[in-house]
């Protein structure tokens, strides 16, 4: 653990160095409220100019980069979390409006090469998955996020409790494994084209991203809300 902590990023790192070392973090910038064109400025400077709390920015980057890094409750409570809900909402939109349609376009092209009904069943498998993901996010946006916003603004909100979320929260990346196996193991050889290769990479990337998203909700959002609920109700 000490080893990981010593490798965690700090605010005086150049943002460009961080991205060069971990290119996958690039997809986080927009969700965290930071635009490209940051030149050679440090993380601290870029965050300040964009109105993003540096500690929060680093917390998310560290979670995405170091697989066994679990922030302590003290670290969570010591960080300004006002950006958490907007970040999660933006992530939902990124998955639903960008990543899933992108994958769907590839799958549509693949289905063209599958005979009639098989192509339809293949596509409807993905569409069912997409609908499940949208439902999952919609529930969080309707019940969980407003609850957090209310608690953060000091309201005594008892219409929802994070215990409900803990009891029902399911992972949404599991079914992607099914899709992945179907696409690269079981599609007939005649559909072996660029779309298959592209979509395998897209699915793998989305799966990793969703895993981190689930982690952030369960290991950062939940302890934070439990603390807020406790503090306000007692």
């Amino acid at each position: 653990m000490k080893d990981i902590k010593s490798r965690l990023f700090s605010g005086d790192t150049r943002l460009s160095d961080l991205i060069t070392a971990h290119p996958s973090l690039l997809t986080l910038l927009n969700r965290l409220g930071i635009s490209l064109g940051f030149g050679d400025r440090s993380i601290d400077d870029v965050c300040e100019a964009s109105g993003v709390n540096t500690d929060f920015f680093l917390l998310i980057c560290n979670v995405y980069t170091f697989n066994n890094y679990v922030p302590s409750t003290a670290a969570i409570l010591g960080t300004d979390m006002t950006r958490l809900v907007p970040y999660l909402e933006k992530s939902h939109r990124y998955y639903v409006d960008k990543r899933l349609p992108h994958i769907e376009r590839h799958l549509d092209a693949i289905a063209q090469n599958l005979s009639g009904r098989i192509g339809q069943v293949f596509i409807s498998f993905f569409q069912e998955y997409k609908a499940e993901v949208e439902d999952h996010f919609a529930h969080e946006e309707r019940d969980v996020f407003p609850h957090i916003r209310a608690l953060m603004s000091g309201e005594r909100d008892t219409t929802y409790s994070i215990d409900k979320f803990i009891a029902t929260h399911s992972d949404i990346e599991g079914k992607l494994d099914d899709l992945l196996n179907i696409v690269f193991k079981y599609l007939p050889p005649q559909v072996d084209d660029d779309n298959v290769m592209d979509v395998v990479y897209d699915i793998l990337r989305l799966r990793e991203d969703l895993k981190k998203h689930t982690f952030i909700e369960e290991k950062i959002m939940v302890p934070l809300v439990q603390h807020l609920e406790h503090a306000i109700l007692s």
């Binding site: 098989i118 069943v121 498998f125 599991g174 099914d178 992945l180 196996n181």
Partner: protein
């Protein structure tokens, strides 16, 4: 890894016959047979068999024997036993079965995720049959009734199917079944 087989049977003649058939088999290690019904549970706990081959007339409480989920329980019959009773077993061996049939039945009942002797990831005939029914939207109970096996066996086949294919959801398995021409388009809802 050899599969540990415990025979529970009062007749010495039958025990010796089964041992003669099974001892040539590299897949099975035949444990010291148990002749008394009273000691079955104790022996299962102590000997930790993979397969229990037992005369159903000696069993009072099958679910207690199944406390360990991975244990396959095979009925050994030599007289009439009610169908509903036999359904609770993973497989049935009749003492009039041929040598090959006995071995085949026991191998099919094994709970192993992957056929460890061949390392094969191909679905067995039974697993394929379960997959086809799943793809048609049947429940575990309906599949068990249709194939005349226990729900426990269906669940064990489903685990094997998922382990081999990497696909968990029924919707995903349906796509798999279609891509492999295991189901006809018209049999889908």
């Amino acid at each position: 890894m050899k599969k540990r087989l415990l025979i529970v049977e009062p007749s010495e003649v039958i025990i010796e016959g089964l041992k003669a058939i099974l001892e040539e088999q590299i897949r099975f290690k035949v444990l010291e047979p148990e002749m008394s019904a009273e000691r079955v549970e104790e022996r299962v706990l102590a000997a930790r068999p993979d397969v229990l081959l037992i005369n159903p007339t000696l069993v009072n409480n099958l679910s207690r024997l199944r406390a360990d989920n991975s244990l396959a329980v095979v009925a050994l019959v030599y007289q009439y036993v009610e169908r509903d009773v036999l359904k609770q077993y993973d497989a049935v061996i009749d003492i009039r079965d041929s040598r090959a049939q006995v071995i085949e039945t026991l191998s099919q009942a094994l709970p192993s995720e992957v056929d460890s002797s061949t390392g094969s990831y191909e679905l067995t005939k039974r697993e394929t049959a379960v997959l086809v029914q799943l793809a048609q939207g049947k429940t575990n109970k309906e599949i068990a009734d249709a194939l005349n096996v226990s729900v426990h066996t269906v669940i064990s086949h489903r685990k094997n199917i998922t382990h081999k294919t990497g696909i968990k959801s029924v919707a995903g398995l349906t796509v798999y079944a279609m891509l492999n021409n295991l189901i006809d388009e018209s049999s889908l809802l």
